[in-house]
Each structure stands twice: as structure tokens, then as C-alpha cells.
């Protein structure tokens, strides 16, 4: 496929509206990430190093 046809396809969309919707989603998402990071200490297993070391699985498919 040529680069031209990529551009043609994208130009056919209502980009401003789409960008607006994405902006909303992204804001909610970013707020969620920030909020979770604010309280990550209460969620994350406290003995990280030991915990991760102990996560040993046997082979699977």
C-alpha cells in the first residue's frame, strides 16, 4: 500500500470530533492512573522483591 492511500483514508474521517472523544477518554484514563498511583502503596504487595522472587511457575503450553 502506498503512503497516499493511508492519507486518503484518514482524511475521510471526521477527525476533530474523534479527537475530542479521545481527549475525554484519555483524561479519564490519566486521572485513573494518577489516582491509583496516589494510593499504590496500599495496594501493592509490600514485600515486592521476595514476592516476585517467589512467583515461580511450572511450564505450560
Amino acid at each position: 500500500m502506498t503512503q497516499e492511500s493511508f492519507s486518503a483514508r484518514r482524511a475521510s474521517q471526521n477527525q476533530s470530533q474523534e479527537a475530542e472523544e479521545i481527549q475525554v477518554n484519555t483524561n479519564v484514563q490519566s486521572a485513573g492512573v494518577d489516582d491509583l498511583l496516589d494510593e499504590i502503596d496500599s495496594v501493592l504487595e509490600s514485600n515486592a522483591e521476595e514476592f516476585v522472587r517467589g512467583f515461580v511457575q511450572k511450564g505450560g503450553q
Binding site: I22, V33, A48, F55
Partner: protein, 538 residues
């Protein structure tokens, strides 16, 4: 064909018992399956009392490898069981041995014994299979017909596992933690397989050619993300896929060693002359509903392209290398080399498949809502990924994880080699909704979803209505005491007083639907009447 196709998703979950670091993983896995069997029994009021009797009386292990040649052996064995079966509410409600690998239910799971003896195998009332595969508990979803249904019954599997772990703990089995991931970052990987029904006449060579570039590149919207590169995770860097570094071959039969991008297992669990089951082992287990939807929906469309001989004519020069190069570059800028010398990014490869699919659907007038949704989402996600992958963080698992982990590392000035980063990578996939980082993010509205918890709970109980999973699941819901064996394409009943068991083959995966047999369940027939009527329908 279209974005609709018969699909089943299998997930092997990671499992640990934190208080018992060296616990036998197979035993832990059996504990999960056993706990779920007990939960089902509890929900069936008078069941518990009969449970252990049945376990003693019913040599479930004799059902293993259920095959026609063994059929004659069963009536006599079943006679021993019948007194129990005639009582109401036998505990086995939904726990029936599938072909092979059965365990004695209620056996002492903590006894030291050969791990191969401690294997359990259930069929659930939603048509799914729950069992121990190698050293992992596995949920194999019931056959579903749309990408959305595939997502719903896959999510139901996560809920089944969650309930099983909670039940195990309540019953004194200790705390079992389950993870929907695909590696322990210490050389081991375990799978989440997809199964797609194809017409037998599709040439396998065209499947290999058509799918390989697609599979190497689809991870950009359905990878689950991983901190660690290399099988040992030796390099502390983020990559898109959990599984990419564990693939070493282009085509092959293996699933546990020398894993191939295209798996050649040919075991249709259906009419052999008519169907092929494509067994896909390259995918990541997704917690996110959108990633799962895209993974299944786009693959369905690409298989349709292959069937119609309309797949893009591209071949990767080095498919395995390309798979890993793409996975190792979250910026999505890496271009991989084609046989004809061109170099394309994963996004560009995906555009080729999208354009071909769009063209194919337009030419054939395929405009059902599922296909329309997949095409629209596929196009939308490629547009976003091209602009800025981070904008897809509310839809795509690896991007959500990437953003969370990088946000954490930035805040605390940590490198990705920090143990807390590794902890986040692992805890992302923790199935506990109060601890799992995916769930903590989703609870904040930061992940797009398709289904509510209520809908997922319904799918834990009920089968899809438009495949043979309906007959399997409903038979277990209504006539469990009489179902003595079930697998993907057969269902066997033992009727009190009957001299032989009744075995029904379900070689047509699109048969046994609510439309074709729903009235039999609605009529609330006695078991013998039900079996007679079912036999008449065939």
C-alpha cells in the same frame, strides 16, 4: 464468513500459594478445580451429604479416555452408582469427567502423590471446561459465535477462577493467588490459546502464509505488556507481548517447547471432513475486554480473507525475529523486513489486513453488527496507535500497563529493574479485584469495558445459546446427576433402569442450540423422556 465465527478461548492461569512457596503447582491447581466443584455442590441445596458417597462409589477415573470401545464397560460400573444417582441433588451437579485426566473428586489433595494422579476435570453449566493442565488451572470457554460472546465467556472464566480461589480459602485450603498472565519472568511461559473453526477445505499453507504477518503484528492491540525482555526477563525493559520471547519457530506441532507462531494441531472436536480447528497459541491472556474483542474479531476477519483468497500478499523475511522486534518497541516505530525487501511497521502491516478486510466485507455485502463493530474498532485503534499509542491506554492492555508502570517509575525516579516495578508487572494480572492493578484501574473507569459484572455473572451460570455449548451446559444444569461424561463433541447419560448409557455425538458445533433443543429444556421433561426426545431430534 465475517467477524462471526465459532471460537473458544483457553486460559492457563498462573498460581501460587504465598504461605507455601514450594507447594506443588499441580496440587494447587487441583485444589482450585475441586473448590469450584464444592461451590457448585453448595449451591445445589441437598448436595453435600451425597458428595463423598458418590466420590467413593463412582470410579470417575474409569471414565478417562472415554471412547466408543469402552462404552460397553460402563453400564456395569454405573449400576454401582445408580442408587446414588437416583437420590436428588447429587453433588456432581456440574462436575463431570471429560475425556481423560479425571481425578477422584474428594481425594485428599494434600497427600503426597504422583502429580499426574491429582488431575481434575469439570464441565460447567455454562458449557465451559475447568481442569488442571500441566501445572496450571485452565478454563476453556464454551464455544461462542461472536467476538463479543467470546469476550463475555472469557471474562466469565476469570470470575470462575476468582470464586474457586475464594472458596478454597473459605474451606481452609489457604490463600491461593491466580494470575491471568503468561510468564513468571523466570524462563517459564504458559498459554492462552484461541480456537477458531474453519472449513476443512482451506489449505493449511494458505493459513500459514496469510496468518503469519498478522500474528506477528496484532500484538500492538492485544498484547498484555511485560517488564522484562528475553525468556528470563534478563533485560529490564518493557515489551508489548507476554509471549513473544517464547516463540522460536514459524510452524509446528509443539506447544510447550520450540513454540511455533502457527500451531499445526489438527483435532477439530467436530466433523473431521467438514471442519478444521485452528489452534492458536501465540496470543497473550487479556484482562481487558477491548483487547480480547479486537484479538478475536480481527482474527475472525483475517481467517475469512484467507478462506476467500484475499489476504494481503506479504511475507515476513524473519517471522520470529519480527514478532520479537515488534514486541520490544512500545513506540511502534520499528519496521520489519518483508521477503520482497520492503520494510513495514506493525501498524502498516495491520493497515494492509484492515484494508483487505474492509474491501472483502464491502464486496460481499457483509454488514452484520459484529463485523461492522470490529471493522470500526480496528480502524479506530490503528488510527490512534499511529498518532500516539498512549491515547489507547483506556482500551489496550499493554498500553494501560505501560502508562501505569512508567508513571510509577517517573514519580519515584526508579528504573524498570526496581523490584516494585516487577511487582506491578505481576500484580497487574492478579485476579483479586481488590489487589489486581488492572481491576483497580478499571474500577476507576480508566478501562473501556463491554460487559458489566452482572452480565459476566450471568455467563458464569449460563451457556451461549447459539452453539452446541447450549446443549452441553443446559444438560448439566438440568440433568447433571445423569450426565456421566461430557466433552466438546459428546455427551453421555446414564438413565436409571436403562441397560446402556446414551451417548450423543455433537459433531456439528452449530447444532444443539437453544433454537434446536431449547423447547426440550423448557418442557422440563423427566430424564428418560428428555433422552428419547433428544434422540428423536437427531
Amino acid at each position: 464468513m465475517s467477524a462471526r465465527r465459532l471460537v473458544g478461548l483457553e486460559t492457563e492461569y498462573g498460581i501460587i500459594r504465598p504461605q507455601m512457596p514450594n507447594a506443588n503447582a499441580t496440587v494447587l491447581s487441583a485444589q482450585i478445580v475441586d473448590a469450584y466443584a464444592q461451590l457448585v455442590a453448595e449451591q445445589n441445596s441437598s448436595a453435600m451429604a451425597a458428595r463423598w458417597d458418590y466420590a467413593d462409589e463412582s470410579p470417575l477415573q474409569d471414565v478417562r479416555g472415554f471412547s466408543i470401545s469402552r462404552e460397553q464397560a460402563h453400564p456395569s460400573q454405573l449400576t454401582d452408582v445408580e442408587p446414588g444417582l437416583e437420590e436428588s441433588g447429587i453433588w456432581t451437579a456440574e462436575s463431570i469427567a471429560l475425556d481423560g485426566n479425571d481425578a477422584r473428586v474428594g481425594s485428599t489433595l494434600y497427600q503426597e502423590k504422583d502429580s499426574t494422579e491429582v488431575v481434575m476435570n469439570l464441565v460447567l453449566g455454562n458449557g465451559a471446561r475447568l481442569y488442571v493442565d500441566h501445572a496450571h488451572p485452565e478454563y476453556s470457554s464454551p464455544e461462542s459465535l461472536t467476538p463479543r460472546a467470546a469476550v463475555l465467556w472469557d471474562q466469565a472464566g476469570d470470575e470462575v477462577m476468582r470464586r474457586a480461589a475464594a472458596t478454597a480459602q473459605r474451606l481452609g485450603g489457604g490463600e491461593l493467588l491466580l494470575y491471568k498472565n503468561n510468564t513468571d519472568n523466570k524462563s517459564v511461559s504458559y498459554g492462552s490459546h484461541e480456537n477458531y473453526l474453519l472449513p476443512r477445505e482451506v489449505e493449511f499453507s494458505s493459513i500459514v502464509k496469510g496468518l503469519t504477518p498478522f500474528f506477528a503484528s496484532r500484538q500492538i492491540f492485544c498484547g498484555s505488556g511485560r517488564v522484562g525482555q528475553g525468556m528470563l526477563g534478563q533485560k529490564a525493559a518493557f515489551q508489548i507481548s507476554q509471549r513473544a520471547d517464547f516463540f522460536e519457530a514459524e510452524v509446528g506441532l509443539e506447544t510447550t517447547i520450540n513454540r511455533p507462531i502457527i500451531n499445526t494441531r489438527d483435532e477439530p472436536h467436530a466433523n473431521w471432513d467438514k471442519y478444521r480447528r485452528l489452534h492458536v497459541i501465540i496470543g497473550d491472556a487479556n484482562l481487558g475486554q477491548i483487547s480480547t474483542l479486537l484479538r478475536v474479531g480481527t482474527t475472525n476477519l483475517v481467517l475469512s480473507l484467507i478462506e476467500a483468497n484475499m489476504a494481503p500478499d506479504i511475507e515476513l523475511a524473519e517471522p520470529v525475529q519480527a514478532l520479537q522486534q515488534i514486541s520490544h518497541d512500545p513506540s511502534l516505530k520499528t519496521a520489519v523486513r518483508l521477503r520482497d525487501g520492503r520494510e513495514l511497521t506493525a501498524i502498516e502491516i495491520q493497515w494492509l489486513y484492515f484494508e483487505a478486510s474492509q474491501k472483502y466485507c464491502a464486496a460481499r455485502g457483509i454488514d452484520d453488527p459484529d463485523t461492522a463493530e470490529i471493522l470500526q474498532r480496528w480502524q479506530n485503534i490503528l488510527d490512534i496507535l499511529e498518532r500516539d499509542p498512549l491515547e489507547a491506554s483506556d482500551q489496550i492492555d499493554w498500553i494501560a500497563k505501560y502508562k501505569l508502570i512508567n508513571g510509577f517509575a517517573d514519580r519515584h525516579q526508579l528504573s524498570l529493574a526496581d523490584p516494585r516495578v516487577a511487582m506491578m508487572d505481576l500484580q497487574w494480572a492478579d485476579l483479586r479485584t481488590e489487589k489486581g492493578l488492572y481491576y483497580r484501574l478499571a474500577a476507576r473507569g480508566a478501562m473501556q469495558t463491554l460487559f458489566s459484572q452482572d452480565e459476566i455473572n450471568q455467563a458464569v451460570t449460563n451457556p451461549p445459546e447459539d452453539t452446541r455449548a447450549y446443549l452441553r451446559g443446559m444438560a448439566l444444569q438440568r440433568y447433571a446427576p445423569y450426565v456421566i461424561a461430557a466433552n466438546w463433541d459428546a455427551l453421555s447419560f446414564a438413565v436409571p433402569g436403562a441397560r446402556q448409557i446414551s451417548r450423543f455425538h455433537m459433531a456439528e458445533p452449530l447444532g444443539g442450540t437453544r433454537k434446536s433443543v431449547g423447547d426440550l429444556f423448557d418442557a422440563e421433561l423427566q430424564i428418560s423422556e428428555f433422552i428419547d426426545e433428544l434422540a428423536r431430534r437427531r
